[in-house]
Each structure stands twice: as structure tokens, then as C-alpha cells.
Amino acid sequence: MNIRALVGALLIFADYAQAQQLLDQTEDLLRLKSRDGLFDSQLTGLLDLEGYYVDQRPPGLLYEDESFFNPRLSLFVDMTLGSHFYGFLQARLDRGFDPGEKNFEARLDEYLVRWTPWNDSRLNLQFGKFATVVGSWVQRHDSWQNPLITAPLPYENLTPVSDEYLPASSTYFLARRHVPDMKDSWLPVIWGPVYATGWGLFGSIGKFDYAFDLKNAAISSPPYSWELNESLWSYPTFSGRVGFRPGPAWNHGISFSVGPYLSADAVDELPPGKGLGDYNQITLDYDVSYAWRSWQLWGEVFLNRFEVPSVGNADLLAYYLEAKYKITSGFYAAARWNQELFGTIKDAVGSPETWGNDIFRVDLALGYRFTRHLQSKLQYSFGRRNGPLQQGEQLVAAQITVRF
């Protein structure tokens, strides 16, 4: 079946009442519950069909060439054992963790076990491979909840900092501003939801909530470093978020993350006497959201520092503001303004130079929810960097999601 036929079939499916009823009933069919109610499990999923067209070499964490098709099947299993134990799995079939990265891959992206000692939500402890606590976008990053198709800029734009190729001096580091991003070795501020492995604890007390985790990889680290491995506790990253909800409309949060970001491949390139643990990524983030009637607004601002060997501190500020407005019961519009502003380092003669090309990007999207199980989105983005080197100034993306 070609893509056009598949999309056509999905649209017909959207209006087919029996199909909707079938999907409604599927929720019950995919639930497994013991007679005494002690064990309960629910399988749910998202099927995404998305396509991208980019006018130049794709930016950030989009791989492939100018245009490509990126299907993705995500399966989620929620399990409870009594009222104190919970388990979760997320498995995916797709073209790699980031769009277009590979031809085909099956992965277990998340798994965790959680213990809740009390009957309320004041404390929860968990171990596994799960999303970071930093920021607020991660909590709404799946295709059903994200009003746009792409992630905000801080979550996907690659900076010239690498976890494995270390610059010999600031001159070499500054030269990276003039070359296209190296997708296999450069790092963003935060790599999507960062499903790294480790321990977490979280809870809520009154109008406050908190979450902390101790993970095996920095928040900028690439997906291959998130897996459970022998070096789990060699160079841990500690992250946390404290949230405050003064009322239903507002939500504020302050996050931090501190931990080494260099990979083991960088050991041989380190300056004499230095180890991987001497170079940290330090991040502070403030997030805020507001909702009322048909409006939802979100914003985040990151202050990030990479301690770069032979260079010093490479600082940057990144932020985004995002809005969604429901025009009718199914139709909505969304917009996001993103910016990354790079700090300065000293060049070979001691003069300050910005270590990256400042960038802005505006994302606009229209979405339509046909039913509780079918949604479509169309996104246009325009971005621009300082300097002559541009990457994917214009992007058009379309996405159809079936939720079951």
C-alpha cells in the first residue's frame, strides 16, 4: 500500500462510525485485569505517519535528505500491582529515535518499576529507563499531545559541542561555526525526552510538586548512551524540578541538571591529568504554562553551560514560547517562537567570540482532531542563523496519528 492510499484509508476510517466504535472497544480488549483487581494492565498505542520537506540540509535532529517519510508505532503498557506498585513500558518501531536516522529499528525506549509507599502522592520511587524530569515539554512530547510536529529548538538544535570529538583549542572550536552540524557527534541542550537510565523520586505536596533523578547520562547525551550498561554509575547526572501550581491555570517550574557529558570515546583526547568527570553540563531551566478556555500557553528558558576541554565554559541561553488555540471542537492553531543565543569564549588572542551561530525559528501549525482516535497536523517552520551558513531555513511537515 503506498502512502497516499494509506492516508486516504485513514481519512475514510475517520468517518466510519463502526471503526470508531471498534477503537473505543479496543481499549477494553487491550486491558488485562485479575479477578480480584490486584493486577491491572492496559496496552495503548500511537501510530504516526509523518512526512517532512526541508528546503536545505535538514537542521538539528532531522536526518535524511530534503524530504522523507517517517512512520512510527509506539506501544505503551501500564501495569499496576495493588495500589503501591506500578510498571511501565514503551516500545517503538520506527526509522530510528530521531526522524529519518535509520531505515528500521525496534526499541524499548522506556521501562520502569515504581513504588509508592503511601496511599497519597507525596512520594514515589522508581528505577528504570525513563524521561528526564527537566523542563515541561517532555510531559507533553508525544505526537498526540504536542500541538506541533517538531520539538522546541533547545530540544533538537545541535550546538558545536561534541561528546566525543574534542577541540584542540578555542580556534578549532570556533571554526565549527562555519561547518554544517555533525549529527552523529554534536549535542543539543537537551536531547528530546532523554530516556536515560537511573533512579527517580517524585511527588506532590499541596500546590508544590517535586521530581529528582540520578541517571547514567547527561541531558544532552545521544540515545545510545541512555541504555543500561556497566558504566551506569561511573559518571552520573543529577537533575531535578520543583513545580508550583498557584491554581488550575498556572504552572511554574524550576529545573536543574548537573553531570559529565563526554563519552568514553573522548578519554584519549582529554588534556593531561583530566578525566571525563571534570567536564560537566550544567543547566538551569524555568518553565511556565497557562491555560484558560480555548487557550494553552507554554514557555521555557534554559541557561546552559558546557565545560569544554581546552576551551573553557561555553554558555548559551535558549528559550521558546508556544501557544495553542482551539478554533472549533476539532480544529486548532499553534505557534512557537524559538531562539538560541550563544555566549562568548576567548579566541587565540584573547578576544571574545560567540561560539555558535545565534538562531531563531518560528513554527506554525494547524491541527484537526477527527475523533478521539485520529488527529492530523500540518506544520510550517522558518528558521535563520547568524552568518552565511544556513540549514533548513524552511520546513513543511505533515503528520497523521491514530491513537488506540
Binding site: Q21, P248, A249, W292, R293, K326, S329, R369, F370, R372
Partner: protein, 140 residues
């Protein structure tokens, strides 16, 4: 005539509301957090967005076409309810299985017992002037 479906304790109350076509229904939020009531059912598509307990008047919706309207909350996925929009004014709602329909005109009717979408029972009845009928449904 206005009926209401209250959101309280993270539940819709009542979970089943039969109304006559052309009725307004109010959707007050009784919880200290947001709800976002919507329906994509063919007889009535609507999305009320997010509103607080203090926001008054509560949003109302006119149900002007007969049919089954399924209600959901966009924030709390377990919340479900049904509004049964009927094209007859002769209906009642029971929680214990005992029902009574009064002041009916004489004539031939199709009496229906609606449990849920999958379980609808019906019987033809003929009602003479001044007559009282006892009609039971065997749900087994």
C-alpha cells in the same frame, strides 16, 4: 429547560443523562482543578476548553439533534458519560430498575430500555385511554 452534567471528584455526574431534543445542558466544574469537556459524537461536536470551579456561568450546550453524545475529559481520560438526546418527551431515568412513565397519550408505541449502546431492549406497546400498563424487560 436546562439540565446539568457536573464534574466532581474526577467523575461526570450523572454518567447518563437522557434529555429531550432541544434541551440546553450546563457543564459546571465542581473540582478544584481543570477539566476539559468535549464530544466528537455526530449529533453534537463540542469542546468547552478549560475552566475553573469559580468560572460562572458554567458553559452550556444546546443539543438540537437526537442521538447518543459521548462525553470525555481531555485531561482525565477515565472520565466518561453519555447524553441520550431523545426525539420524544416521554422518557425517564432509573437507577434501581423500577420505572414509571406518566401522562402518556393513547396510541401505539415502541418502548425501549437503554442500558448502554450494546444493550438496548425494546417492546411494542398499545396504550388505550386511561389504561395503566406494566411492562417488564428481562435483561438476562
Amino acid at each position: 429547560m436546562t439540565n446539568q452534567v457536573l464534574q466532581l471528584g474526577l467523575q461526570f455526574r450523572p454518567a447518563l443523562l437522557p434529555i429531550y431534543v432541544g434541551t440546553f445542558v450546563a457543564f459546571p466544574n465542581g473540582d478544584g482543578l481543570y477539566h476539559s469537556v468535549f464530544s466528537y459524537s455526530k449529533p453534537k461536536r463540542f469542546d468547552l476548553g478549560r475552566y475553573r470551579k469559580e468560572d460562572r456561568p458554567a458553559p452550556t450546550v444546546l443539543f438540537d439533534k437526537p442521538g447518543i453524545v459521548k462525553l470525555y475529559c481531555d485531561i482525565h481520560q477515565h472520565m466518561r458519560a453519555v447524553i441520550l438526546v431523545l426525539d420524544t418527551p416521554y422518557f425517564t431515568h432509573t437507577t434501581n430498575g423500577v420505572y414509571r412513565l406518566a401522562n402518556l397519550p393513547a396510541g401505539d408505541f415502541l418502548l425501549k430500555a437503554w442500558i448502554d449502546e450494546k444493550h438496548v431492549y425494546q417492546k411494542p406497546v398499545r396504550l388505550k385511554p386511561g389504561q395503566r400498563l406494566d411492562v417488564d424487560f428481562d435483561l438476562n
